[in-house]
Amino acid sequence: MLTVEGISTYYGNIQALKEINLKVEEGEIVTLIGSNGAGKTTTLLTISGLLKPARGRVTFCSRDITGVPPHNIVKMGISHVPEGRRIFPQMTLMENLEMGAFSRTDKREIKNDLEKVFHIFPQLKGREKQLAGTLSGGEQQMLAMGRALMSRPRLLLLDEPSMGLAPMIVKEIFQIIEEINSQGTTILLVEQNAQMALKTAQKGYVLETGRIVMQDNASSLLENDDVRKSYLGE
């Protein structure tokens, strides 16, 4: 479904990604793990079009989407929940969800999807008029994910959904990720919480200073000694 071939992305003169290759098949949860500054966020930003790679190619559903502006990539079916949630703090919860559906015009279907989002995230219900900036961290993460679902993505990019959340909430978020996936949305999950990510995903990639250094089934990576030492704190 998604193929990333040899992308190199720069910030000015600094090369953040060095010929990254990765593949996500329809229906999968794939995780990309790595320590701070490895280039995980940069990879997602390059896929969703906010950054343009200097070299390489991104293909989605057999279409070359390299260099396509982000607002058109959403329309093709990729939705990105950015690092740090990035909800619109001065808009209401409902307006945030409406923004998620910005690229759509099918009013009735949008309404159905709103119901679905409230079903997945019951915590958000009844707070439609609350300013999003006043929600708790966990609620903001849920809102950011709900907002992304409002575009009806075929592929969901999640950048550190567990960041800064209490263990209870992290567990809940991962359960929801599985639920979203079981309803047919493919997921590329970036995480520092490698333990949880590898338990949830089928496939994993390990990124180190801009390079993919390992790729395997998630269960094998969980058993791998190097991974255990470097990313699972053992």
Partner: protein, 290 residues
């Protein structure tokens, strides 16, 4: 006396509000002080005057056409002078804005010459009087138009899809684009609307003082900027409030201190706001939680 001054202040202030909106909307989305905004206001006034005086276009039609024309000038300005610098430093864009301001002013001088043009008021000079207050028909119309435009803008920003996209882009431009918002389009629309509002102010000031000149945008441009800062630059309700307060303060200073302090009052306010409440009166109450 006081009520009279208050009403005079609100009339003047509503003009400042309209100008301030252009600064604040643009700043809200691309963090740029569009120093050419006063010239857009002047272009609007000239367009209205030319249509009415030289082409006998009915006033309200000329008013709308002047807004549309200035909107297009603003949109072109953004495209030519600011868009290429979007990824450069803010200083570069600011210098470009100052350059654009000088260019537009000289363009007007070149085309129209330095002499002032008369812009006759289209309304019969009627005056309504009571013990507390004297107000002319023209002043009532200026108030009505200004407030209608501000109410219309508020509705547009709050309720329409494009308006919501503008607010989203002002809060987080990259994330807005991840939602499917074409941010270049939103920036163009922002310049279009802000410039059209500036032109509305320009035309109304033109008929109020019955004159338009190529340098007429200078002072009101600065005042509009002060009003935007006063209200908290980037905040639309702030610009409306800031304009009204500035107008009232100016008229009061002129009435109760000395008419020579009129302009000084505006800039004294700017300095005080920057010293004591740099975020403006309608400062950001809600911070993003991380």
């Amino acid at each position: 006396m006081f009520v009279q001054q208050l009403v005079n202040g609100i009339i003047l202030g509503s003009i400042y509000s309209l100008i301030a909106l252009g600064y604040t909307m643009v700043y809200g989305i691309i963090m740029l002080i569009n120093f050419a905004h006063g010239e857009i206001y002047m272009f609007g006034a000239f367009a209205g005057m030319i249509l009415v005086v030289f082409y006998d276009v009915p006033f309200f039609l000329a008013f709308l056409l002047a807004m549309a024309f200035a909107g297009l000038v603003g949109l072109t300005l953004e495209y030519l002078a600011y868009r290429p610098l979007r990824r450069s430093t803010r200083l570069a864009a600011l210098i470009s804005a100052i350059g654009a301001s000088i260019f537009l002013q000289n363009l007007a001088l070149l085309i129209m010459g330095a002499r002032p043009y008369t812009f006759p008021s289209p309304f019969t000079p009627r005056v309504y009087q009571s013990t507390l207050l004297t107000i002319s028909k023209l002043e009532i119309i200026i108030l009505a138009i200004s407030f209608l435009l501000m109410i219309g803008l508020t509705f547009f920003i709050q309720k329409t899809k494009i308006g919501k996209a503008m607010r989203a882009a002002a809060q987080d431009i990259d994330t807005a684009s991840l939602m499917g918002v074409n941010v270049n389009q939103i920036i163009s629309i922002t310049f279009l609307i802000g410039s059209a509002l500036g032109a509305a102010a320009g035309v109304m000031v033109g008929i109020y003082f019955r004159t338009v000149t190529p340098t007429m945008g200078l002072m009101p441009g600065l005042k509009g900027f002060v009003a935007a800062v006063l209200g908290g630059i980037g905040r639309i309700p702030g610009a409306m409030l800031g304009g009204l307060l500035l107008g009232i303060a100016e008229v009061m200073a002129a009435a109760y201190i000395s008419s020579q302090y009129r302009d000084a009052a505006a800039f004294a306010i700017l300095i005080l706001v920057l010293l004591f409440k740099p975020a403006g009166l309608v400062g950001s109450a809600i911070q993003e939680k991380v």
